[in-house]
Amino acid sequence: MRKFKEVLMQIVFLVSALVSIAAVALICIFLFVNGIPAIREIGFGSFTLGQIWRPSNDMYGIFSFILGSIYVTAGALLIGVPIGLLTAIFLAKFCPVRLYKIIKPLINLMAGIPSVIYGFFGMCVMVPLVQKIFGVNGNTMLTAQILLGIMILPTIICVAETSIRAVPEKYYQGAVALGATHERSVFLTVVPAAKSGIMAGIILGVGRAIGETMAVIMVAGNQERMPQGILKGVRTLTANIVMEMGYAQDLHRKALIATGVILFVFILLINLLFSIIKRKTVV
């Protein structure tokens, strides 16, 4: 009896462990099965490289949204990476212990704040601000880039800080003993040694930025056209799905799912890159 129970529970544990595999498999299958026929029907080329999205005329080109996602993500990185990395350096090498006890929980909190709140903040504060400064409609690519730049800060800070702290103290001591200043030792010996960890953090940030949906929708304007500069509205892949899924029918609906497939493929590639870099760090 006892033996039976042992074996039974072991099977239960095993099945639980298999659930995550099953989940990934199911997600892949359902997205691809529902998305790929649409891509085939529209034509892979005209779907991914088509510049016009006009469902009423059966024109489904998502190139402008792919570009939109890339531009918004790149802008977010341009803002988030330097500030995040330098903040991580501050936390690891400059921050007094007492201050650290206040800042660290705040950054953890920053990671936990829901994206709707970021979006709402962007809508109420940043959109009017951009409007005032540049004299254009405030729902712009720039607004989305800044907001996303703020949102990826905690991801980059946490990963970068951990990897900077993992660099042996000897590196720093050696540099200081040779007469380098504190800053020079940190920037020219410790940070380069933490390079691959920092890269991993940045890639994680890319994943967050490209997949972010709600906050972007609330500030980016979402016009379905090619991106026309940072002071014009832009629509990303994620925004396209949420904006139109509510009322889409037939091929339109399938094209939206196919948009999700393209996004999913992007994310899988980013994940792959992340795990390759992470593996390198361990070795």
Binding site: E6, Q10, F13, L14, S16, A17, L18, V19, S20, I21, A23, V24, I27, F30, L31, P82, I83, L86, T87, I89, F90, F94, P105, I107, L109, G112, I113, P114, S115, V116, I117, Y118, G119, F120, F121, C124, V125, I150, L153, T181, E183, R184, L204, G207, G211, T213, M218, T238, I241, V242, M245, G246, I257, L263, F264, I267, I270, N271, F274, S275
Partner: protein
């Protein structure tokens, strides 16, 4: 005694006054600039989060009114209470699904599987993949699978299953860490007293890992409470308290999104943001406290 003296001596040597630092910076302006931008960046980060918190609180708290906590939602009072109750229901249901699976999976990985097992590697990779998938993709999948294929319709149940998959890797990872932190001697002691593997797991290993597991569950709660994109097309947006698990519901985050999208009820949106924010801060705080407690006990 000698050692202590050396240490104190070293400290006096290493202690530098502000004037010393200043002299050094004067000689090396590059370092001075580096120091400045480091401080500036940290200040910017703090400014961003501080401004967001203060702004939402200042704008929102005066708008908190009894109207927002009416039992029934109407387009006049914009009551958030039904959404709040739905959020709690959604959280409970999701955790009910995800917690046993996540914890059991971690038990398998730590206690049963052999270290060089191919299967473990695959489970790890898939769990990592799940962590990286954005919530809108979960939303699409939930819509295709739970809502349509399984016929759950737009419902509490569809939403809960979708979120359960989303938080599964969080629960798995934290539980795994908690189990790994349980000393080997506990297990050896239990085996030595004649307990079987299963009994050891349930009576010895899991109980001593409870704080770690709990902090993981609370972390998962935070993600569930803050989720919007995965729920819009799985749980729907009916602003009433769910009658059963098959009724469409909106959680607080979805409510917040719809309210700000409509744009008519900005004041109520501010107030809703405060409630949501306070909820998330509270959840974070509790999770942090529990996690700290278990590390300090171990250390």
């Amino acid at each position: 005694m000698v050692k202590k003296d050396t240490k104190a001596y070293m400290e006096t040597i290493n202690r530098r006054k502000f004037a010393d630092k200043w002299a050094e910076y004067k000689k090396r302006p590059g370092s001075f600039i580096a120091m400045l931008i480091v401080y500036l960046s940290a200040a910017l980060t703090m400014l961003a989060i501080g401004f967001l918190l203060v702004y939402v609180l200042v704008k929102g708290i005066p708008n908190l009114s009894a109207d927002l906590f009416r039992w029934k939602y109407t387009s006049d009072n914009c009551s958030l209470l039904p959404a709040l109750i739905n959020t709690i229901l959604m959280t409970l249901l999701s955790l009910l699904i995800a917690a046993p699976i996540g914890i059991f999976a971690a038990v398998y990985l730590v206690e049963y599987a052999k270290t060089k097992n191919k299967l473990i590697a695959v489970v790890r990779v898939t769990a990592e993949t799940l962590t990286g998938i954005p919530s809108i993709v979960y939303g699409l999948f939930g819509m295709l699978f739970f809502t349509n294929a399984l016929g759950f319709k737009l419902s509490l149940l569809s939403g809960a299953f979708t979120l359960a998959i989303m938080v599964l890797p969080v629960i798995m990872r934290t539980t795994e860490e908690a189990l790994l932190a349980v000393p080997k001697s506990y297990r050896e002691g239990s085996f030595g007293l004649g307990a079987g593997k299963l009994r050891t797991v349930f009576k010895v290993v899991l109980p001593s890992a409870v704080p770690g597991i709990l902090s993981g569950l609370i972390l998962a709660t935070g993600r569930i409470v803050g989720e919007t994109a995965a729920l819009i097309y799985t749980a729907g947006s009916v602003a009433e308290v769910a009658k059963n698990i098959f009724s469409s519901t909106r959680t607080l985050s979805v409510h917040m999104y719809l309210l700000s999208k409509e744009g008519f009820h900005t004041n109520q949106a501010y107030a809703t943001a405060v409630v949501l924010l306070v909820l998330v801060v509270l959840i974070n705080f509790v999770s942090d406290k529990i996690a700290k407690k278990c590390t300090s006990e171990k250390g």
